[in-house]
């Protein structure tokens, strides 16, 4: 079997995807765990002209930076077409791989979260506090 990796990016550049990476996991409150869609995770802020970023998740704040990846990462999309041959009743599936993006940077938060003493004002509105997202540190 041979799968040709397709790429419609052409001669130009592939569309760049963004990655926000942090240690551990973000947990939504139990009420939201099975319907995360559209839920806010947190607010990413770039306080100065440096490549330093903060990420407020619930009552926690992470500090990190934007780093270039040593090697690029391609985002591939796999599609499977299944054909049924009426004559022989055999199924053959055709897998297609297409490059849909490239990742060259990540915004990496590798420190433990810092608790925010006062209730965060601007960023976390009602919606966010309903999330009550907590960054728990598993791997620090």
């Amino acid at each position: 079997m041979q799968i040709r990796v397709k790429c419609k990016c052409g001669e130009g550049k592939c569309r760049e995807w963004a990655v926000v990476e942090l240690q551990g996991v973000v947990e939504a409150q139990p009420a939201f765990q099975d319907r995360l869609q559209n839920l806010e995770i947190g607010v990413l802020c770039r306080p100065s002209s440096q490549q330093v970023y903060t990420f407020k998740v619930g009552y926690h704040e992470l500090t990190g930076s934007k780093v270039a990846l040593k090697k690029p990462i391609l985002v591939l999309h796999k599609t499977k077409h299944t054909h049924t041959d009426v004559g022989t009743h055999t199924n053959s599936s055709n897998v297609e791989l297409q490059v849909i993006g490239i990742i060259r940077h990540r915004i990496l938060f590798k420190t433990r979260p810092k608790p925010l003493i006062s209730k965060p004002q601007l960023a976390v509105k009602e919606k966010a506090s309903a999330t009550g997202a907590v960054a728990s540190n598993q791997t620090a």
């Binding site: 990796v5 052409g10 592939c14 963004a18 869609q37 990413l44 985002v75 598993q138």
Partner: protein, 396 residues
């Protein structure tokens, strides 16, 4: 707080976040495991191959897939990441923007929102590997081209349907885990030839007949084996009843093109290849005493060629039984190309090897990232009875 200018913010809003601004990161309306999204880390130098769609994945369902460029083969391994890796596509990534209402809602939002489509559990990495070419030999050996077939099928270009054990280039690419270039050079190493669209190995006996006819013709016509005119040689063999394709193939297998003139192609027979061929023929039936082998070999070698025992490195093994030295065929080309299997067969053949004997049987092994010293360390035990004695290698 400053508002981002990119409207509904996707990856671009995160990557180009202006100083003193912020963006909300939320789960996408289509957030999910999305197993159909695969991350593949690769060298910058492979990107042009990707953009020009020269990359393929090859392998049968029961094999670990490999990734091939035009010239190299890579193994693929999954590397997990215990961090949370939030993947944010560009805002207009069509795959995830089918819900126009949803995209619009974000547009209307006062603050830019970037949406996370998936938390990636890790990514794929590439490791350069040796191509898996042993299968090619197996496939082509299923149905070698024989003299018999020539009699049955006058016209070589006629392709019969339902031929078993016959493979076209496209079939080989589907079945063999190697890049196009590696596959092509292995076909050449196996002396395969494309006949009627199928890649074939020609039966040794048949090749022997054609070679001997060629040598016979050279004697009759007083041709020099160092300067054979392709047209003359091929048309003469054709008139002897051999197909054009095979006559031509014979020159390829046993000779080298020396002069590429506009009008005439000139070939020189390769002394080593011709001599090795006759040695193999003699040893086909089993082991022989050294003296009788050498005598027979010298008789078979065409006039003007010099056979020397060095030519048989990696082709024969000799052993002393009492006062006699015996010789038998043991060809490196018949051995598997994976180092583990190769060494296991070698040590089954002989528990102990001296370096000069072992070297011809392992010099062709190539494992990216492992030197030949590394191979020896990994698969053999080296012992040296005294300081100036030859080292001896045995199984680990």
């Amino acid at each position: 707080m400053e508002q981002t200018q990119s409207g509904n913010g996707g990856a671009e809003a995160v990557l180009n976040l202006e100083p003193s601004s912020s963006i909300s990161i939320a789960y996408h309306s289509l957030f999910g495991p999305h197993d159909d999204l695969i991350l593949l880390e690769l060298d910058e130098k492979l990107l042009p191959d990707i953009l020009q769609q020269r990359i393929t994945l090859r392998g049968q369902p029961d094999e670990d897939a490999v990734l091939c460029t035009g010239s190299k083969t890579y193994g693929i391994k999954f590397v997990g990441n215990s961090n949370s890796v939030f993947l944010i596509p560009p805002s207009d990534q069509t795959e995830f923007c089918e819900n126009s209402l949803d995209c619009k809602r974000k547009d209307d939002d006062q603050q830019g929102v970037a949406s996370v489509i998936k938390v990636a559990p890790g990514n794929m990495e590439l490791v350069e590997v040796a191509p898996r070419l042993d299968k090619l030999k197996l496939l082509l050996s299923e149905n070698p081209y024989t003299f018999q077939e020539d009699l049955e099928m006058e016209d070589l270009e006629v392709v019969e349907k339902g031929n078993t054990g016959l493979y076209k280039w496209d079939d080989l690419v589907e079945k063999v885990q190697a890049s196009d270039e590696e596959l092509r050079s292995e076909l050449q190493a196996l002396s395969a030839v494309e006949i009627g669209g199928y890649w074939r190995i020609v039966d040794v006996k048949y090749m022997d007949t054609i070679l001997r006819m060629l040598l016979h013709n050279s004697v009759i016509n007083d041709w020099s084996l160092d300067a054979l005119n392709e047209d003359e040689v091929v048309s003469m063999l054709e008139s002897d009843g051999y197909p054009h394709k095979l006559a031509h193939h014979c020159l390829h297998v046993y000779g080298n093109k020396v002069d590429e003139n506009l009008s005439r192609q000139v070939w020189k027979l390769d002394e080593r290849r011709v001599c090795v061929h006759f040695a193999r023929e003699i040893l086909k039936e089993g082991k022989k005493k050294m003296e009788s082998f050498m005598k027979e070999w010298m008789q078979k070698i065409p006039e003007g060629m010099q056979a020397s025992f060095d030519m048989l490195e990696g082709e024969v093994l000799t052993e002393r039984l009492g006062v006699e030295t015996w010789i038998r065929a043991f060809s490196v080309s018949s051995l598997p190309s994976s180092p583990a299997e190769r060494f296991s067969i070698l040590f089954r053949e002989r528990p102990k090897w001296e370096w000069k004997d072992l070297q011809p049987y392992i010099r062709d092994l190539s494992v990216p990232g492992l030197s030949s010293e590394g191979l020896l360390l990994k698969y053999t035990r080296r012992s040296q009875p005294t300081q100036d004695a030859e080292p001896v290698f045995s199984a680990r």
